[in-house]
Each structure stands twice: as C-alpha cells, then as structure tokens.
C-alpha cells in the first residue's frame, strides 16, 4: 500500500468552526490531491498540488483552502465549516501525473 496517512480519520464539528485535515505521504510523490466523496457524485476534486507551495483549484473548491509547505504534507482547511461540507474526504498522490493512490479517507460531520 502507498504510504499515505490521513488525519483525523473521523471528526464531528459544529457549523462555523474551522477544520483542518492532514494528508501525509512517505512516497515523495510530486502530486497531491484532495477529493470529497458523496453518494451519487462519485469523487470530486477540491484542490490539488503539483509541488511545494504550488496548488490550484479543482471543481468544488469554494469554502476550502489548501497548503503544502513540505513535499510530504498537504493540508485541507475549511475556514468555517458548513453542513454541506459533511462528506468523506480522500487524499491522493501520484508521481509524474500517473496513477492516483488514495488514502483511507477522513469522515467529517458538520452539525
């Protein structure tokens, strides 16, 4: 299995609070991605990174920000969580833009 660790794996929070999800990799892959998974929608790209401090938006980026200060870490932040952001969040990594390897997910519930 690819060395990807997501934390926390489960989190319950209240509307309006900030939340940060962490993705840590040990593969030294260049590309990192954050997806959210919702029933009927498959996985939708939130943000991605193509290098340290190089990030860009995906198709559902509103309400999310990311940071990548080190190759191994990619952080996803919800500045003010809303109930619509209740979801399962997956981090993925790839090398040379090839196959994506996914982490085991972080389940976030916003009450």
């Amino acid at each position: 299995d690819a060395g990807i660790t997501q934390s926390p794996r489960h989190k319950v929070t209240e509307t309006g609070t900030p939340v940060t999800l962490r993705c840590h990799q040990t593969e030294n892959h260049r590309y990192m991605y954050w997806y959210r998974q919702d029933p009927g929608h498959g996985l939708r790209l939130i943000h991605y990174s193509y290098g340290v401090k190089d990030t860009d938006k995906g198709e559902v980026s509103d309400g999310y920000s990311v940071s990548r200060s080190k190759t191994e870490d990619f952080l996803l932040t919800l500045e003010s969580a809303t109930s619509s952001q209740t979801s399962v969040y997956f981090c993925a990594i790839s090398e040379r833009g090839g196959e994506l390897f996914f982490g085991e997910g972080s389940r976030l519930t916003v009450l």
């Binding site: 498959g42 991605y48 193509y50 198709e59 090839g98 196959e99 085991e104 997910g105």
Partner: protein, 115 residues
C-alpha cells in the same frame, strides 16, 4: 454539470455471472480512462485503465471496452465472485500531465455478487 455519467447506480449479480457497468463522457479532450474499485472503509484503488488508441483492454476477469465515436466506455467483470462486491468508479482525464492527473469521476456503481 457531470462530465462523466455512470450507470447503473447499483447491480446485483449471481456468482459466476457477468457484471457490466457503463460510462459516458462529454469532453473529447479526455485521453485516459481508468476504473477504480473501492471496498467499504477504504480508498479507491486502480483496477484497470485504457487510452483511446485501443478499443479493448483485458486484465484477468476485467475488461474495458471503449467506443470513441460514441464517447462511451464500459467495464465487464467476467465470472463475478463474492470478493468482487465493491463500488466501482469510472473516471477520465485529459493531457497536460505536467499539471497532474486530474481525474473526473463518475457517480459510482455498487456491485453485489451473491454466492
């Protein structure tokens, strides 16, 4: 708008039967079409992938059929086994891999193989 549409949402097949999942895409710039398999509580994992220069690719019991003119591709699972019970996602992406492989996923199909 959903650029990759997947059907059916769920299917039940008997052990030994054939599972067929279909996907249709809109963006003609897509040039990479993978299928991912996901078990409960796990992240998706690459199962098989195809590029548009071939019409079919087979790996073991799994086959992708690709129809470029119709902008459709499908996954066939032959001799389905209970261990194949999972959710399957089709996906697509386009060139410019310098920007990473930004996959657009279909909505997923939950497959249940009955023993």
């Amino acid at each position: 708008q959903q650029q990759v549409k997947q059907s059916p949402q769920s299917l039940i097949v008997q052990k030994g039967g054939i599972s067929i999942i279909n996907c249709a895409y809109e963006n003609t710039a897509f040039d990479y079409f993978p299928w991912y398999q996901q078990f409960p509580g796990k992240g998706p994992a690459l199962l098989i992938a195809i590029r548009p220069d071939v019409s079919e690719k087979k790996e073991g019991r799994f086959t992708i059929s690709f129809n470029k003119s119709a902008k459709q591709f499908s996954l066939h699972i032959m001799d389905s086994q209970p261990g194949d019970s999972a959710t399957y996602f089709c996906a697509a992406s386009r060139g410019n891999k310098a920007a990473g492989n930004k996959l657009t996923f279909g909505g997923g199909t939950r497959v249940l193989v009955k023993p």
